[in-house]
Amino acid sequence: MNSLDIAKIVLVLIGAPILGCLLAGIDRKLTARLQGRVGPPLLQPYYDVMKLFQKDNMVVNESQNLYVVMYVVFVILSLLMLVFDADILMIVFVYTVSSVALIVGGMSTGSPYARIGSSREIMAILSYEPILILYALAIYLLTGTFKLSALDNISNPLLMYIPLIFISMLFVMNIKFKKSPFDYSTSHHAHQELVKGMLTEYSGPGLAGIEIGHFYEYVFLLGLMFLFWKVNIIIGLFIALIAFLFVIIMDNITARVYWQWMLKLSWTVLLIISVVNVLYLYVAKIKLI
């Protein structure tokens, strides 16, 4: 590990939450503008987190705090692995652990709302995980390795070979950002029937930790989209931005659906187009390296 790596780690640890916080602020501001409201200040997510740190921490059981820490640590870990071009399959698994931490945290409280939210989140994982795995598989077929560092040696962007997986990934973004129409596991818009879903029993600093984890997660998820055009950083960032705007606009023009609908959508349409894409790569024997 040389000094450049350490600089990178520090940059990710400090820069990612700032970027994520700004993204969350843009999201809220844009949503408000789309609804014809003035909306909160851009730094509102930052104020929220600072406020939450000033509140008392009320937990049902002590282990809840552990799950928050686990969630944040594993999200940061997966982001770091992404930055250091690690194994994409490993990144997907490490990232799943972070989602599982939140689910177990919700389940551990015994609150019915948290349990409903957690079981719905399990359904969400069930619907997006196959697509992530197929994404990893497509990268393997194209480059001959799961290592993301191979993407530096190719001349054409991934998007040209796996456009269908890109479309599926857009929906995965929507599920993972927990935005409408797939915001049924935890969303403050759903408080009439769900309270706060999975996160119902968190308060104060615990919730602040989860929010910070979300900031890292935003950056991580957009990083996954960035990979589609890694050969040119500008276009890559542009694609990530497009994905982000897509999520926000979908959030505003759709209503929450049943989790069954999401499962049907992802296990039929999204999964089939992803499989078709992977089969095409396999049959046509397209190799970038």
Binding site: R28, A32, Q35, G36, R37, V38, G39, P40, P41, Q44, Y47, D48, M50, K51, F53, Q54, K55, D56, N57, M58, Y113, H188, A190, H191, Q192, L194, V195, K196, T200, E201, Y202, S203, G204, L207
Partner: protein
């Protein structure tokens, strides 16, 4: 500082006639847009800062109110919205009514009116913010309100 910039409210309906509740919800619509001040209507008391109570307190819901109050982490403030929540209002001499919210839990700000206009409610929330801020600076904790039985008086 940050407390005053992101007040999350929980709306508790105690026996309200629904007039006040509709006005509270009107605050969140694009016309009044309470989110300008960072106000979010949050579902769970554990994440709330301001408790907005509408309606008068009666023997049936008094324990629900106390329970929700106890579940809000400190620092917290209570805002009584409407004549009913402030004093008992039009229902003040009903056989089952205890009175305003301040009969059971400490109230920090009152919004008069039956029903109060959304502007007045927003004013109340903004007034509550300074109380919230001073409570957090002085580390003032909320009272731990004891739950009792149904508290039906013997002469009822």
């Amino acid at each position: 500082m940050a407390l005053a910039k992101s007040p999350w409210i929980i709306h508790v309906n105690c026996n309200s006639c629904n007039g006040c509740d509709i006005e509270v919800l009107a605050c969140l619509t694009p016309l009044y847009d309470a989110e300008r001040f960072g106000v979010l209507n949050i579902g769970t008391p554990k994440q709330a800062d301001i408790m907005v109570v509408t309606g008068s307190i009666n023997y049936k819901n008094v324990n629900v109110l106390k329970n929700i109050y106890n579940q809000i982490p400190d620092p917290k403030v209570v805002l009584a919205v409407g004549a009913c929540a402030s004093t008992g209002g039009i229902f003040h001499d009903c056989y089952n009514v205890i009175g305003g919210v301040d009969q059971v839990i400490p109230v920090d700000a009152y919004v008069p009116g039956c029903c109060p206009r959304p502007e007045a409610i927003l004013d109340g929330v903004v007034a509550a913010l300074s109380v919230l801020e001073s409570k957090s600076q002085g580390k003032i904790k909320g009272k731990d309100v004891k739950l009792k039985g149904n508290e039906v008086p013997s002469n009822a």
